[in-house]
Amino acid sequence: MALLMIRSKTVCHILALSLTLLAASASLSRAAEADLNKLQSQYDSQIKPLFAKYCYECHGNGKSKGKFAMDKGATLRDLLADPKHWNKTFENLRDKNMPPEDEAQPSAAEMNDMITWVDQALQWMTSSGPQDPGRVALHRLNRSEYNNTIRDLVGVDIRPARGFPTDDSGYGFDNIAEVLSMSPLLAEKYLTAAEEVLDQAIVTRSPYEKKLVKFEPPDYLERNGKKSRNGAKMEPGSALYVMYKFPVEAEYEITWTLIGVGKGDKTLKTSLKAGEEDPKSMTLSAGKNTLKRKLKIKAGDQPIGASLGKDPWPGERRALLESIQIEGPFNAPPPPLPDSHKRIFFIQPGASVSETDAARRIIQRFAAQAFRRPAVDAEVDRYLKLFAAVRKEANFEQAVKLPLTAILCSPHFLFRIEKDSPADSSGIRTLDDYELATRLSYFLWSSMPDQMLFDLAAKGELHKDHVLQQQVQRMLADPKSAALTGNFAGQWLELRLLEDVNPDTEKFPTFDDDLRHAMRREIELLFETIVKEDRSVMEFVYSDYTFVNRKLAEHYGIQGVGGDQFQKVSTAGTPRGGVITSAAILTLTSNPTRTSPVKRGAWVLEQILGTPPPPPPPVVPEFDESKKAEASGTLRQRLVAHQVDPNCSICHRRMDPIGFSLENFNALGIWRAKDGEFEIDTAGILPDGATFTGPDGLKKTLLNRKEQIAQAMTQRLLTYALGRGVEYYDRPTILAVARKMSQGDYRFSIMINEIVNSDPFRKRRAYKSPEAPASAPKSPSKTE
């Protein structure tokens, strides 16, 4: 137990430490050599002996477990030439993976010293020399990106990825290149989806093809709409007809064949009918009588038939309706083609364009857009061959459809590809304008670049700073930027989890799907407002406005809001404003039957402050809600009791007080004065020691830590923008972005623009490993 206590304390120190580090690191990156001298003196006096005592057993004195020795090289500069391993060291110390459990453990103070020193050494390592921009792996489109790309490329919005398997996520997002894997199941679904999409987009045959249909007994109906009882036989006054569905208003040729039977030579009068027209009366003579008429007939079900006059018949004359024949349509108007079809077939073969040329141009254009870069001739040739092969047995549209299907299954379409070949000597290259357009559009739209981005890339202008900034502005104003809300905000703030929360409806009868969706919509609208109006990101912590519809207003106890439409309302005099006290966040951090101060505290630490608490060790159960405890006080009193357990207290003292300050909100975020019969104590403490009371106090205290919050947010947004985990070498970028934000009222556009302008976003390392030639930070040679 003693050992456990020490180790738990360590965690606590590290938590406190990483907070101060984040805040302090902004001012650290100057005067690299001075820093190195400082590192050196600390190393000699303090750190090296600690390493020797706790680490050399495996990582020193000739041993280099995991290929890492902590006494490598003649000078400190040599020792620090391996930032990757030092970063791993930092993480392992921070996450208490090292030293291993069964080895001697440093005291909390010693641990603190080592972590501080390694962190500062990392600062030095990452701020000197050329910055490593990192490397994004071959990036498969995820489900949302696939749906949007198909929508923008083909022009059909059928969300074909709805049946794809869920994309696995990493670093909290589902667009991480290294995690997005490919499987036969998925490849098969891509194939089926491509077919489904193009079936929907392209009309390959006229629905109005000319047909000849002949009706004979027993097809006929009588006047009353019932099947004819007498087959072809017609009596005086009777009628026989068929109903025919005419596909389109056009001309049809109708042929009636009647047979006059019986004695005598008097004629019989017959009326013929076709749709709304009574084309003709025919005088029947004995034997076969045929009438052929070309008539304009409206679309839809129309009767075609014949009737006999009521005049008494002389002798025993009868008539038989031998057949009715319908042929058509003739001169049908061209079918209405969907826009998607017109967009793909922007050119038709004809007098001046051969079929092959038309197919080539169609394929070339489609491929260029699908591949997000100009299509190479050799590629187009391959697709054209497929067209030619199919054309022998299919019409033009069908034959074009097949190569387009192949394009939608091509790795050039399914993956975002950044090739490695042309790197400069440092192993780092700037992305070309097409690659940049692609990164940009998947960042802001979760979709492919539009024509304007392609045009700017073709002209080689996109990378110019002012052009890029204009484009970012334009793209954020475009409705497609809703993807940033759904995908980034949905995952950063975990709004997507609302779909799965399942509050106990006996305890919370007001909860239903309408409320669930209203909760989510409120925060989406807040996010969209901050983006569109370029407001301060600190409004995520507190805003003096919010958005409610009738349902949510009732939930909040806000008067005078009716209807399903959301409207902007002031939060003055309410505890709302910002995400932390929104029903959405308060609900998704609650349990089905009660609030969870622990989850709420952890959520604020992770999503807002960027300092997630370590997960509970396995032997420590989550909060024990025993019946005995329930009777004995508020949730706070019960939780405090559990903080007495030293295994728990060390982390829970960090998480719980933040959650306690929100105890005036029940598990659905409804305001309550008391927890059952008990008073609520909303005093809170941040991990750095700041004290406050209630939700307003929490928000105010957080807003004293704006730069830290900006860093945390930047870290999340950079992860999402790049589709890779943030690494130690991204640290200078994050600090720089946050600093820029602090100089501009933390406006959202600064964060986006600075990320778009950063090396990690604009460049790419050609080697997988950062230790590969020349990409590790170089020693500044002058000072040698």
């Binding site: 670093y171 991480i176 098969e188 391959r382 091509s410 997507r496 032997v619 989550e622 025993s626």
Partner: protein, 452 residues
């Protein structure tokens, strides 16, 4: 290889969550076909399925009090009464690689990951994911050619849609049971309708139209394979690796198309006129049963012989309103010996077992060769965590149902020596699938007590 199946009853799988009437299922395979298959097949093929049940169990109600063949079913397993003679309760097995081994917290991620791989996942939230090939995929890569689908992967868990998964592990470890190789997970299908399509086609095409479509698809894939090869030469090493996944996937589909085309020619294509299930049922239990129905059907019709089915990922915090459990499974599982919570978990344990019983009864009722479909199968139900309160990975709750084509003596509780690797069992299963291997995952040898 003769495979005769004629499933052409529109009445089958009617509507959402249809419960298959068993006699009908049986009737769908004409007697002549059954006879033919028995005649030309001296040995009926052996099937193998792995079912993952998350978050361990309350062992005190799960473990039989006596071992051997004369044991009383414990309370949690009582729903299995009717099929007791068809399975073995296995205790004492362990998954050592689900333990932390210096990697800190993350037992749930490691449990899902290790269950079929016996491997220790590399701790990463995304970069350089590394685990190991899973037993089902390992077998599918060796004998999967015998059936149209080498294997099927099913799940009833949509996975986490936002935020981080378990303690610094990418969600890939927690959501996937099956791994093609060290780095490539195999995602599972969640929608019964799509599973059905995969097994029997969408059923809306005439045989001629179907053949034409297969031919078209083949020409598309030829081109795609070509293009992928070209692209590969222009990429860096690590990206090539990523693209290899795609190449393999494309080749896989091509093979399957060839197979379908050949069947079409020989007139053996399935008559896909069955009414397909309609999407994911709202109720969890219905969803599970529909998946079990499809699994039985896939085996019965020999569409595949290998399956993996994740009921829910380990660490799942699903609640069960249909049985009156409103708190989440994971939270309950840290019960701290509190009776109310333990009772809730027992209810969940029984819930999962009752659906498993439904599946086994169905498998046992389908006649095949000289016995039942279950007799020719090996169904493993288990978890890689035993006591979720303490995250222990030894003494796992495991059931091995079916006789594996007559090799196993069932109806017993088999107690294994403490910490016997679960992967040892996998070696025995591979034997029955006709794959001779002396090492898988962290195996140390075969189990020698499966035959009495």
């Amino acid at each position: 290889m003769t495979r005769n199946w004629l499933i052409s009853r529109r009445t089958m799988l009617r509507g959402v969550g249809a419960l298959l009437p068993l006699p009908l299922l049986e009737a769908m395979i004409p007697t002549t076909a059954r006879a033919a298959s028995a005649a030309s097949h001296p040995k009926t093929p052996v099937r193998m399925a792995f079912i993952y049940s998350p978050n361990g169990v309350i062992m005190s109600d799960w473990r039989p009090s006596a071992d051997g063949g004369n044991y009383q079913l414990p309370p949690t397993l009582s729903a299995l009464k009717k099929v007791q003679k068809h399975f073995n309760v296995m205790t004492g097995l362990a998954h050592d690689n689900a333990r932390s081994k210096g990697d800190g917290p993350g037992d749930h991620a490691r449990s899902s990951a290790a269950f079929l791989t016996g491997a220790h996942p590399r701790k990463t939230s995304g970069a350089d994911i590394r685990l190991g090939v899973s037993i089902d995929q390992y077998a599918a890569q060796r004998i999967g050619d015998a059936t149209r689908l080498p294997s099927i992967e099913l799940t009833c868990d949509r996975g986490r849609t936002a935020g981080n998964c378990d303690s610094g592990y990418s969600c890939a470890y927690q959501s996937n049971l099956s791994w093609k190789n060290e780095t490539t997970p195999v995602p599972a299908e969640i929608d019964p309708a799509l599973v059905f399509n995969r097994l029997f086609g969408s059923g809306d095409l005439t045989p001629e139209a179907r053949a034409a479509r297969l031919a078209r698809r083949k020409s598309v894939l030829d081109l795609v394979a070509d293009e992928t090869r070209q692209l590969n030469s222009q990429l860096g090493k690590s990206d090539q690796h990523k693209l290899d996944e795609f190449t393999t996937a494309v080749r896989d589909i091509e093979k399957r198309i060839d197979k379908s085309l050949a069947e079409q020619k020989s007139g053996k294509a399935p008559l896909a006129q069955i009414t397909r299930p309609q999407g994911v049922p709202r109720e969890y239990g219905q969803h599970i049963r529909l998946m079990y129905d499809l699994l039985a059907l896939a085996f019965q019709t020999d569409q595949t012989r290998i399956a993996a089915f994740m009921l829910a990922r380990d660490g799942s915090n699903k609640n069960f309103p249909e049985i009156g459990v409103t708190e989440g499974h994971h939270e309950l599982s840290h019960h701290r010996n509190e009776l109310g919570k333990i009772d809730s978990i027992k209810k969940i344990d029984r819930f999962y077992i009752s659906h498993f019983a439904y599946f086994l009864e169905k498998m046992a009722s389908i006649r095949e060769g000289d016995g039942s479909l279950l007799d020719h199968s090996m169904i493993v139900l288990g978890s890689a965590i035993s006591d979720a309160n303490r995250h222990t990975h030894n003494d796992l709750p495991v059931i091995l149902a079916g006789r594996g084509g007559g090799a196993f003596t069932t109806g017993r509780h088999i107690l294994h020596p403490t910490d016997t690797p679960m992967c040892n069992l996998y070696l025995n299963l591979l034997d029955r699938m006709g794959i001779r291997e002396d090492q898988f995952g962290d195996s140390t040898g075969r189990l020698n007590n499966l035959t009495a």
